[in-house]
């Protein structure tokens, strides 16, 4: 990569809470916080389980498989750094394990997008330090 990456990076203010997620993404794995008391997978990461309020949380691997819950196709990105990608797709992914996450849909013809279509995670190494988890049609 010859030019500097211009888009926002997920540099967290409380790294300890989100570090396992980004470390796993670097290894091309998807992990989610899971409550050890009630087995609930949830996202985004918090210090307590939003279902039972237990603080006993572990990170667990998930399949990276799910469905496209909803999406939008953006023609005019407000951040100029995204203009080279336009039109591009923001999406909410329903993971098979339960949580929903925001991501981008890639490797898909825009006219083929449908809610509830099966998707699978892909890993975009946007800089040497940061990998974004995106999704493509399964």
């Amino acid at each position: 990569m010859t030019t500097e990456y211009q888009k926002p990076l997920p540099r967290p203010l409380s790294p300890e809470l989100t570090k396992p997620f980004w470390d796993a993404a670097n290894r091309h794995e998807l992990v989610m916080p899971r409550c050890q008391k009630c087995d609930h997978f949830f996202f985004y990461p918090r210090e307590e389980c939003p279902r039972c309020l237990s603080p006993d949380i572990q990170w667990a691997s998930v399949s990276g498989r799910g469905r496209l819950h909803t999406y939008t196709i953006v023609h005019q990105p407000v951040n100029p750094a995204f203009r080279e990608d336009a039109p591009h797709v923001y999406s909410v992914i329903q993971l098979d394990e339960g949580p929903r996450m925001i991501s981008n849909m890639v490797e898909c013809d825009l006219d083929d997008l449908r809610v509830d279509m099966p998707v699978v995670a892909v890993y975009d190494d946007v800089t040497p330090d940061w990998t974004l988890v995106k999704f493509k049609p399964a």
Binding site: T70, V78, V115
Partner: protein, 406 residues
Amino acid sequence: MNTSLRGKYCIAGVGETEFSRGSNRTTRAMGAEAIRNAMNDAGLKPEDVDGMLSYHGGDSTPSTSIMYDLGLRPNFYMDCSGGGSSTEALVGLAMGAIEAGMADTVAIFRSMNGYSQMRIGGTGVRAASPITGIDLLKRPYGMISAVQQFSFTFTRHMMEYGVKNEDLAHIKVAHSNHASNNPKALMKQRVTVEDVMNSRWIIRPVAHLLDCCLETDNATCVIVTSAERARDLKQKPVYILGVQGRGTKPGGDFHYQHGPISRVAGYYVGPRVFELAGVTHDDVDVTGCYDAFTYTALLQFEDYGWCEKGEGKDYVTSGIINLGGRRPNNTSGGHLCEAYTHGMNMVIENVRQLRGTVDDYCPQALEGVHTYDYSEGHCRQVRDAEVSMNMGWGTPAVGSSLIMRR
């Protein structure tokens, strides 16, 4: 539910500045002008207004500066953080402050250079803000503006219920027809379904350019006081029957986690506001349904129960929401055609509707003499309007509502 305040409070004065794109004025000067206009409208002197409430997104001027310019000395003021759906919520808070004996007459204002300084589309100052909290997991993917976040709800709804862009365009057409009879409106040009469909995509598949509101520089004000006090003032009192806000869906800042994603906060707010006001849908003559986008109005019509879930497309294409229809919506043109004010102009419009003195092109409009000719360049007064309802939108997950009676 405490219904004892039903009809005990009124909106006694309303006012605004010019709606423009490029005010070349401070939010301080505009805020003072809007409040002064509302005070004049009500016939209130500086010593009569002893409360102030405002809302802002870091884009306004504090009450403490504006009170100085107006010669006010409040017994109560607060500047609250918030955007859409704050108007109705603050009307309720004003009633609470008066009921608590903290003030007698409260001016609620919103002042924003929404076009020339802080554009709600997410460009300008706001786009440069640092990444924190949940944004960590959204911003790297490019998510930032309101339409992008709202449209997750829109797209899912569209695909579940078979809504067409032509259906949404009817909302813009209705509001543009209304705006053509509003001298204050930024966009007075009547548009057709084809015009909307031919405007460029902003967010596919849910919003063309003409489905989006008009970023605007403006300030607005409504004044709340007791019914007793209002009866001595200049205008016909408009009584507050019930108010709710800001009611939420489960899940707060990441409500997308909690299905059904196509449901909006009105689902929770609606039954409460009707019960509080003691009226039914059939009693309502005119609505003010927040139209940041055509889709926000359609979703709220469904979840407030004006039609069944999934039948919003039929409601908005049936003619009901047009002037001359059973229950016109956003008769000023709303956010799509009059101005984007974070909800204030729709409450102001309904106050004027209930007074019978909407400021249209009828020669004696301000004396309450109207032609009810809704063709272009004429009347926009709803005949014999008695009850109005506002439905404010913060996000799909946050909403407020206000029911008023003349």
